[in-house]
């Protein structure tokens, strides 16, 4: 499992993304080292979700490059991109569970399509394991519409993790959860990082979550990476743009 090479797993250079004449990302740079958790901080509407959607290839940037495992995402064909995507887990801010499928089917959906030789028992085992991780095994045969907001977030997390991705992009994993569940989610993120050597980008406003999970914190401001450092470094900063997040 342990990858030998220690080159960065994600390298983003001079990324520019706009919608119409509204520039959202304006020369953004970021390097994610293998096995680390990078937290992105930024005001609402600053383009955090847009950034990780560019990384997974849902949005096409105007210029700049994104290297994931040394593949340039912006230059891959659709089929190559799909291949790369199986190694990246993506947690949507809106969860985006398939509402016409049961929880079990939601989790099986990627498994059955990517691991075609997998046996039925193996699928059941992986699905149960993923749901146990988020304490929701009892919901396995329910529909998403029967679950609460926090439960949906946890199911979405389970679905994100099921293919054992090397990289996970979390869009606000603890928003809307109570402190106890939030803590459990943070522990799960840390557990995955340790066990599978997962590298992650985590978008969060929840300072407890940031504090507990971040190896590196990046502040996204006006389309650029305004500041970067460990949680402690940024927390001690006197820059008012940084300070307002830590008060």
């Amino acid at each position: 499992m342990e990858p030998k090479n220690n080159k960065p797993i994600i390298v983003i250079k001079d990324l520019v993304k706009s919608f119409g004449d509204k520039v959202i990302l304006d020369g953004f740079n970021l390097t994610v080292e293998r096995g680390t958790n990078v937290v992105i901080l930024g005001k609402s509407g600053s383009g955090k979700s847009v950034l990780i959607k560019c990384i997974i290839g849902l949005l096409k940037p105007e210029s700049g490059s994104i290297f994931v495992n040394e593949d340039n995402i912006t230059a891959l064909s659709e089929d190559e991109l799909d291949e790369t995507r199986t190694k990246i887990g993506f947690l949507f801010q809106s969860n985006a569970l398939y509402d016409s499928m049961t929880i079990r089917e939601n989790l099986e959906f990627p498994l059955l399509r990517h691991w075609v030789d997998i046996t039925r028992e193996e699928v059941d085992r992986l699905v149960s394991e993923a749901l146990e991780n988020v304490d929701l095994l009892h919901t396995i045969d329910m529909m998403p519409s029967e679950l609460s907001g926090g439960m949906l977030k946890r199911v979405a997390l389970a679905r994100t993790m099921i293919l054992r991705p090397e990289i996970i992009l979390y869009d606000e994993p603890t928003t809307g959860l109570d402190p106890v569940t939030s803590r459990e989610i943070e522990n799960l993120i840390l557990k995955l990082q340790e066990k599978n050597h997962t590298s992650s980008i985590i978008i969060s406003h929840d300072m407890n979550c940031v504090k507990n999970t971040a190896d590196v914190v990046v502040l996204l401001l006006e389309g650029k990476s305004y500041a970067q450092g460990s949680f402690e470094e940024l927390a001690q900063s006197t820059d008012k743009n940084i300070k307002q997040f830590f008060d």
């Binding site: 849902l58 990246i88 993506f90 949507f92 809106s94 985006a96 990627p110 399509r113 293919l163």
Partner: protein
């Protein structure tokens, strides 16, 4: 005009992405069930009424010309060649076009389509190819069943004023129908079905954010596919004319 290009390239993907293996057979069956089987009661009812009403309305004119005995032949031809396929397709567009537009539209705005993409699965293949194939296969079947029920309605219509045996009625109808009446009529329903599926999916996929966007997708899917049905019908009649099948 911009939209025509987009619809065309969306359709083109059906023949590139849509027909590559591996096939989503389970989803295809599921869609055939929803799109075909569950539409049958509606199509059956409307077809029955149409056959009955058409017969009752045609009779006085035929009586005036003294050709009342030709009633089964006239109605049979009208239903099988034109009215059956077009009415069934329009009902189908109303029921299925709107439901596909709304379903995919709401999947689009709640990012479920993006969720498929990020897990490395082509939503076009899973969602669009299966639905388009299902509409293309199911509409001809529904039309054939609908035609049969229409003719039965017509038989009852004939029997309101005079007495014919059901054998004689169907013998008269089938004797007057050629291969060249039936086949082009069924072939065009393949295209009607394809159009309803593609337009519904296209409108769903291009849905804009918000509940209103979903409503607009469903609505414009019905409008556009209905227009397409008439356009295809017009083309079909030209083609059969040119091929000397009329």
């Amino acid at each position: 005009m911009d939209e025509t290009g987009k619809v065309a390239s969306f359709t083109g993907r059906f023949f590139s992405v849509g027909i590559q293996p591996r096939y989503e057979n389970r989803e295809l069956l599921n869609q055939c069930y929803k799109i075909g089987y569950l539409s049958f009661p509606l199509v059956g009812l409307t077809s029955f009424i149409m056959g009955l009403v058409l017969t009752m309305q045609l009779r006085p004119s035929l009586v005036d010309y003294g050709v009342e005995s030709q009633l089964p032949v006239m109605v049979g031809l009208a239903i099988v060649r034109e009215i059956g396929p077009v009415i069934t397709a329009l009902i189908f567009a109303g029921k299925i076009g709107s439901s596909i537009g709304a379903e995919l539209g709401s999947m689009k705005v709640t990012e479920q389509i993006d969720a498929m993409t990020v897990s490395g699965i082509k939503p076009y293949k899973y969602l669009v190819a299966t639905r388009v194939l299902a509409t293309t296969l199911m509409l001809p079947l529904l039309t054939i069943l609908g035609d049969g029920i229409s003719l039965f309605g017509s038989y009852l219509g004939v029997n309101i004023r005079s007495v014919t045996s059901i054998d004689l009625f169907f013998l008269q109808v089938f004797k007057s129908l050629d291969f060249s009446d039936v086949l082009p009529a069924i072939i065009k329903t393949l295209f009607f079905g394809f159009a309803v599926g593609i337009v519904g999916c296209y409108k769903g996929f291009s849905s804009s954010k918000g509940t209103q966007g979903v409503g607009v997708s469903a609505n414009s899917a019905v409008v556009l596919s209905s227009v397409m049905i008439f356009v295809i019908d017009l083309l079909a009649v030209q083609i059969t004319e040119l091929m000397g099948l009329n």
